[in-house]
Symmetry: D2
Subunit: 375 residues, 4 copies
């Protein structure tokens, strides 16, 4: 098996023409699609309907091609829509396709591997709490198994799509005699993202047993590889594990590191280094062409400062802080990588340290000796 | 004479405590202040009153110290407030102080030189038109003379603060039987910035005679060194020329180049190179410490794309494109320079090519041989 | 024939559950639907994808029920989505259903009548110009005929959904050697709405022949009955004519007047009076129950004032003026009518005088003698 | 003594020209100014610097006229700036001036009376808590005494300007070993407004002893006469009590009631009735001329509905709910009163019921028998 990653521009949240063109030309087999990550041009916050519009359109398109019922598509394919293309970020789809081949390369080197899993649906009172942490950890382990990744060290990115609390769900929990983690719907997105990220940390051994009290409180606990995103359209956690495995073939691989703050390009340089790409300013054309996808989390630091200098992202009542952060971190990465087609998503609770976040890059094994660095 | 540049954080548009502390401690002589550039935390658009608030507070503070009447301060000191600290940008003041000394260094090397001038007040119908272009060019020449800079090649940055049209000013022009360049108040900022930039280009010989028809129409005409900013609080153009001159002493110098697009870090690398600073990713601590101020313009490309990838800045009806652009370009520069205290201002009409903009850096002459590069 | 109007709340742009419930219970025949007007909760400006999401969902729902192909549904049913439920406005659908009955009432009184028509798709360079004006006028006449309304005096509301220019459409026009009415995408919505409204005025004899130069320039020309709305998801104009006709039965009727400014409740009182409803403050419960739908246009006055007092809607660079206006006029009407489920749409170029706009109310013929007033 | 109320338009937050013109013409004695309420055109949220700009400008203007030091002016004159003129609301000043005269009218009728007081500065950890409630109640009683109002029934409006928490103030509290009511700066405005309103309720006997746990939790507790507004520019609570008193003369009086929800024009009708003004739709010209000032609070209902219909104000991540609410309630009132120069302020925690708020009107005693109704 090998994984292909298609990076396709979108001119609107329902623009799947680029995907369909690849299908028509035979470059993409719809049945092989295991995940689509999308950057859509909404505000990325509560009333961002571009995510739902994109998901509905993609689900319909896949169903039309494969004949699967809509709900079967939703179960089989991880659709992770991240709203917000602030600054110069460019709306696009990242389509992950598994292709059957004759197994991994004979030289034993590792290649890009993906695996998906899904938790049971959560009850409203479980969101942001231990039940979500533990079920997420189990699902991450299951997805690793499917990806034939045995060591957590070979996992470089775990995308989680998780539910949130609506007014109705809060009422349902209260009616059943439960409390909820928060009755603020916007905050529930943070709790769900946070618990999901801690579940990833647990599965990957980044932290050992942890209490649900830590969620959105003890930010010293975090995963270096989780990217979690909350959406109103689901009740379970959908997990996509991306790593490297000797059981897979292909010419792609992934590496990651953690940005310590919003402007930490040293982390970017380290990730590039792992991939055998020289971190020059900016990257040369060949190096740029090797980078297939960059996935990062962005958030305003709760400290209110970046390297001691005050930022105004959290005091701006006109623009949400997450929108500021995506625009800014998008610039940080684009300036080096030479492209604006970057998957920068917001809301990084327990995903990297305060104000920073995980950064993963998928690249072609172009550079001599790059495979060795991953062993 | 020598120029000192003080970079001072501000916690609010009227926070001049940091400046006053330097005065109290004797590190800054208020009478020597020739210009203050401020990044304030408004929206940088029509209804940004943080600029006026800052200007009023600074004017009052200087007057209180020197005993000058308020209008004398306004005439003597160029106060250029640029609203908008989107993304991680940090509100701050850049105070330019001239210190009398024994003249330039004996070795004939050039040092940072500044000069200011001011045009007559414009009538509403002149804004964005030939009258503004020509008067700006004259004032740039006058400011160069005051800065003892004879060659346009030694000018690296020209800051212009210019007026805009309000509903009332449009009505005044129409009542007097004139037409206006535009009756859209937001657009009038663009026209005023554009005409001012073309005035700079004219003075520096970047272009020869030009028609007012080019303003906001023929964007192939632009200055590589102008940075213009419109504000409701003035009717004239205030000009600040910054360059290098052998007539000045001190350990600072300035260099510039033009970013071809919003993510053009190769331009940044070239500017650093001119200053003798190695453009590593990110800069090392010593190099970071050498950079005293970075001044850049940001704008969404009218083409709608950055290196072929669509951006959504001009289609976003919730956030002004200039706000997106400042956040994004702020990230591009901060990721390399290692600081968010950057003077990134928006609205780059005729200041660099579409979607790009001038970039100037003031640095200490720390690197061996840096002076030679400027000859 | 008679017209039923169903006012149905929506909890999201793709929430058609309320419509489906009526279908299931037999209260609504999908095949009889001729138009759905929707207030969706986007920003109502360029990047409002809630309109497209709603339209796609409604089209699919109707197709699923009737077996018609998607494009047949689009041609048969006028779907007019108006984005923006600012202030307390409530997202909802207004479903217009035609029911076959034994013709109009024997007493010769007039009842609510509707008719739809659609223009050909416009080329980008035609938008905002004579081609759009003329084609709209033709389509209004065609829709009147279908509604069996012979006199323009019996037309009380003409809803037009019209296209806008995107960056891509502007480029297409320029590439074909054409100029465009404006290359500003937000402004193109105004031009398209304006030309469409003038087309309505032409068809209804409110004005005679007019030049395209008047569009968005000569605001003394306007329709008192047009409500036009621009959206990215179509290229043609969709027209819905609503009036009263003796050829129709049922217990509904419509009346209209023009608000002279944003706070003109005297116009509201006059419309209520035409419908036999006493304009008390607020309406009594019975009167409130008679009002089935209220349709109004809102816009910031270009004069910058309302009855001499300055407003800030056009100087606010954080919130679009159309969003301000919808919230405000929504309050004006809701305070009297006692409900927030109002179809207030923005962008009233050439629809009523500057800062005002058409207002139409559909009500039950509850009041004695109401029919006479309409003769 | 008698109170004059001057309603003066402002073209910018620092536009005091209209006030100065009255001073110059002898219609206003600066030394008699006890309070200025201002509607300024900021966002009314955390980063609204128009309030501070206005306050600084007004303080300076008064000082320039009277020779008082700036801090003496700040202590003597209550400056209550409320940011946000959304919808069609018009920026303006309401200047309250006390004029010495020969005491109240001989007929024993009551006239408009005002009194101001100020609390001590609060420490960050006291904001939103019992300390703020109790100190506010004490200051209200003190202000009543100064206004010569002995019965709480004669108090119709209590304006409170209160502080908020910034990131720095939160850090200060934490560093001192305290907890804070909330570390969310936007939410801190709600806590401060809520505790202040409960302090008013306590002083006026609307509620008896209450716990600080009720703040922003138990919304069944509220004042019917408090209007509280948070701003970054102060640390103490400034109180202005407005009522009617037989000890005062003049031709003005005030009345109030509570809007049960955002569209409750029956409350408006009742207030007008108390003032002897017939509540027609809209008011006739004479009635309009009698209304000198209208003061109201606006907020999105936490229930998410208005009379059963969903609103989207709390789910909109682009525009703050308080901005929506001001625009909307502004429309509700303006449609009846026939003017947009209304003091509608946002953030009505514990000020009236959920989604509603206090409404007070100051009017001339024009109507026959109006005085009697107030006895």
């Amino acid at each position: 098996m090998l994984t292909r990653v298609h990076r396709i521009p979108a001119v609107a949240p329902d623009d799947v023409a680029g995907i369909q063109a690849l299908v028509t030309s035979g470059q993409l087999n719809v049945k092989g699609i295991v995940a689509i990550l999308g950057k859509t041009e909404g505000n990325g916050c509560v009333n961002d309907f571009t995510r739902g519009f994109a998901s509905a359109t993609l689900t319909r398109m896949i169903s039309d091609h494969t004949g699967e019922p809509l709900d079967a598509v939703e179960q089989r394919v991880a659709l992770v829509m991240s709203g917000g293309t602030e600054g110069g970020l460019s709306p696009h789809w990242l389509v992950f396709e598994i292709v059957n081949s004759d197994g991994g390369p004979s030289d034993g080197s590792k290649s890009l591997a993906v695996g998906a899993a899904i938790t049971r649906p959560f009850l409203p009172h479980e969101i942001g709490r231990a039940a979500q942490i533990d079920a997420t950890a189990d699902a991450v382990r299951e997805a690793m198994e499917r990806a034939k990744i045995s060591s957590p060290d070979d996992v470089h990115y775990v995308q989680v799509k998780c539910p949130l609390l609506t007014k109705a769900r809060v009422a349902e929990a209260l009616a059943a005699g439960h409390t909820v983690a928060t009755d603020d719907t916007l905050k529930s997105m943070a709790y769900s993202r946070g618990a999901s990220a801690l579940g990833v940390a647990l599965a990957l051994g980044e932290h050992q047993a942890m209490s649900e009290d830590a969620v959105c409180r003890d930010f010293s606990l975090f995963s270096r590889r989780a990217s979690t995103s909350a959406g109103v359209e689901l009740l379970e956690n959908q997990i996509l594990v991306i790593g490297n495995s000797a059981a897979w073939g292909g010419d792609l691989m992934i590496a990651h590191d953690v940005m310590a703050d919003a402007i930490d390009t040293s982390a970017l340089a380290r990730v590039l280094g792992q991939l055998g790409i020289a971190a020059t300013l900016p990257l040369g054309p060949d190096a740029q062409a090797c980078v297939i996808a960059a996935l990062a989390k962005a958030e305003p630091s709760r400290s209110g400062v970046i390297r001691g200098a005050r930022h105004t992202m959290l005091d701006d009542s006109d623009i949400s802080g997450t929108r500021h952060a995506r625009a800014f971190v998008g610039g940080v990465l684009a300036g080096v990588l030479g492209t604006t087609t970057l998957f920068v998503s917001g809301g990084a609770e327990h995903q990297g340290p305060d104000g920073g976040g995980p950064l993963a890059i998928i690249a072609r094994k172009a550079a001599v000796g790059a495979e060795k660095k991953l062993d």
